[in-house]
Symmetry: C2
Subunit: 365 residues, 2 copies
């Protein structure tokens, strides 16, 4: 029904007494449909209902069902419920599930370049990642990368800037990185290794004990909200910042291309835009919850914050640039994406140095 000027809007109950009846009664233009109900499965790399990330996947499924009027129902599976976290890519590629939620760096075994779409050390923050992906050519490159796998990638959320991690050893100079045993996966781990440290791979569940027993000197995890829930502060002396290795990790959606194309156009649009809405939602939630958690870590749990010294950050950045350049030299696809990312970083660094950064600084003057 069209609400015209001056016309008294009818109540929801008056207006709809069963779809077809209402349409006839008000002689409004009508579209008659008999719509199929589509049932999708979403496999995720998170434990079921994992704070903000797993619940973000639930949120996505719920708004798609609401917007589609129940015509597209998505059942969400946590890690190991249908398949294990590291099988998510293949499961969606094969079409056993129609959509997946995780992070692109898990798929470097498929394509080294995939990890460029989650985060690189000293790379882009969340707002910048979204801008690069949607308006800086990033999403086109990502789409091309996943095309051979029958997958459509799409950003669905961002962890926000992560923390540098929990340390039982103080880092006062680059010398202190030497021999440092730290749980830090991916590119961050490679960088630490080149700086003389020993990156260790450990699943989340074993971090606490390893830190407490001294098997590792340090660990990174996510940010205050997730770190607090994990209780890591009880086993570490210092909480370091910034998270140079993951300055704004994009969470990844992968959609089976055939399943997507089999949807009617309106459901395709619903899925696509729901991912954008969920993207904003997750970062908004994490920002607010990280605020609260950081406050509580400092005030209730007396956590000691430490900042990596400038020369340590400079050194880590140098190592990071070297490693990424080597990877680009070995892989033209990696190079094409890294070049695009670097070009965007250069431009946005100039812009955000006079805008975002200055606004944050000016509040602290």
């Amino acid at each position: 029904m069209t609400i015209q000027q001056g016309q008294q809007p009818l109540s929801r109950r008056q207006m709809i007494q069963g779809g077809a009846v209402a349409a006839a009664a008000f002689a409004a233009p009508a579209i008659v449909r008999a719509e199929e109900v589509h049932q999708w499965k979403m496999v995720t790399t998170w434990p079921k209902n994992f704070p903000a990330l797993g619940t973000g996947a639930n949120f996505l499924a719920s708004i798609i069902e609401e917007m589609s009027g129940g015509r597209l129902k998505i059942k969400v599976f946590g890690d190991k419920e249908l398949v294990g976290a590291f099988e998510v890519f293949d499961t969606v590629s094969r079409g056993t599930a129609q959509i997946g939620h995780g992070a692109a760096y898990y798929w470097k075994g498929k394509q080294q370049a995939a990890q460029l779409f989650s985060a690189i050390p000293f790379g882009l923050n969340p707002q910048e990642m979204n801008s690069w992906l949607y308006y800086g050519g990033g999403l086109q490159l990502w789409t091309k990368l996943y095309e051979p796998f029958g997958l459509i990638p799409v950003p669905i959320g961002n962890t926000g800037v992560q923390m540098g991690g929990w340390f039982n050893r103080e880092i006062k100079s680059v010398e202190d990185l030497k021999g440092l045993k730290m749980r830090i996966p991916g590119l961050g781990g490679e960088v630490l290794k080149r700086a003389g440290g020993t990156p260790v791979s450990l699943p989340g569940g074993e971090i606490y004990t390893a830190l407490q027993s001294g098997a590792i000197d340090a660990t990174e995890w996510i940010g205050p909200y997730n770190d607090q829930a994990f209780g890591i502060y009880k086993a570490a002396k210092f909480y370091y910042y910034p998270g140079w290795h993951e300055p704004g990790t994009t969470l990844e959606g992968i959609i089976n291309k055939k399943a997507y194309e089999a949807l009617p156009k309106d459901l395709q649009a619903i899925v696509w835009n729901a991912c954008k809405a969920a993207n904003l939602e997750m970062l908004s939630e994490l920002t607010a919850k990280n605020n609260d958690a950081l406050e509580s870590l400092i005030n209730q749990h007396k956590v000691q914050l430490r900042r990596f010294p400038d020369d340590v950050l400079r050194h880590l950045r140098k190592m990071s640039d070297e490693i990424l350049a080597e990877m680009a030299a070995a892989d033209p696809v990696f190079k094409e994406i890294l070049d695009s990312l670097y070009k965007f970083r250069k431009q946005v660094s100039a812009w955000h140095a006079v805008s975002e950064q200055m606004v944050l600084e000016s509040r602290g003057l």
Copy 2:
């Protein structure tokens, strides 16, 4: 149709040969609907197709039409096409249009507190605004504020951090603010006045001439992308940062409550989530375009960037705090909202000082 494991997905053509037929043919569960077509009007405060803001409103209308399969069509009107910019609030409140797009500070004549939902000097950046609104209680307060007008508010976009403005006089100390004739509306203007300057109100179209003739010494506008399109650089010596007065201005959607409630639930969900998608979209676009524009302003147009000195920013912040405190003392509703905003700013400043700000700084080391 459900895509099951191992089942060969049918092509879009095979599957849908007219809605009802396809549903019967594949014996899938189906929802039969005869849906009305809803026609909405969107009035905006922007000139038609105004870069990023007006085109953002167009984007919102287009995704709503796509997601609804044409069941909700929204015709977008620019400033003066249906009503003037400053009539948008009343027009939607009355139901002549069902949705509006603009910025809340235009409505301080209705409620002083409205402007707190666009931006305050030294307030929140875009990511923080979204987080405050969606997870910090902001949207509830905004909803309560607009309830008497029959309006539902919703964030739809953000300009990003704005620039400090274009100056023909250098600002080296707080003394230089005295007697400064500057086009700067709203709270920013109040702050400048208290600092000894003369805020001037001028519509966009008159800024260039006023600056060139010396009738004003300075003007703020938006950011590099919109400023460049306006050509202001040709009439000014210096481009100052940061935009202390508008650190991340939320663009406002207002929806007529009765019109919204008259929609079926699925269309309500589509409208609501489309606003989130458009919110992300607009900021992503502006971030990328501001990058390009700043680069071109500096390299092609040889614009000279200047940073406000620390003591000037400190002074402006002091004036701003005073003014906001006075407004809160005079208006309990204003106070309730300002308190919520300040509480959030305090927390998020602590969090972003060790995350966002440090990441941006560490890239420049």
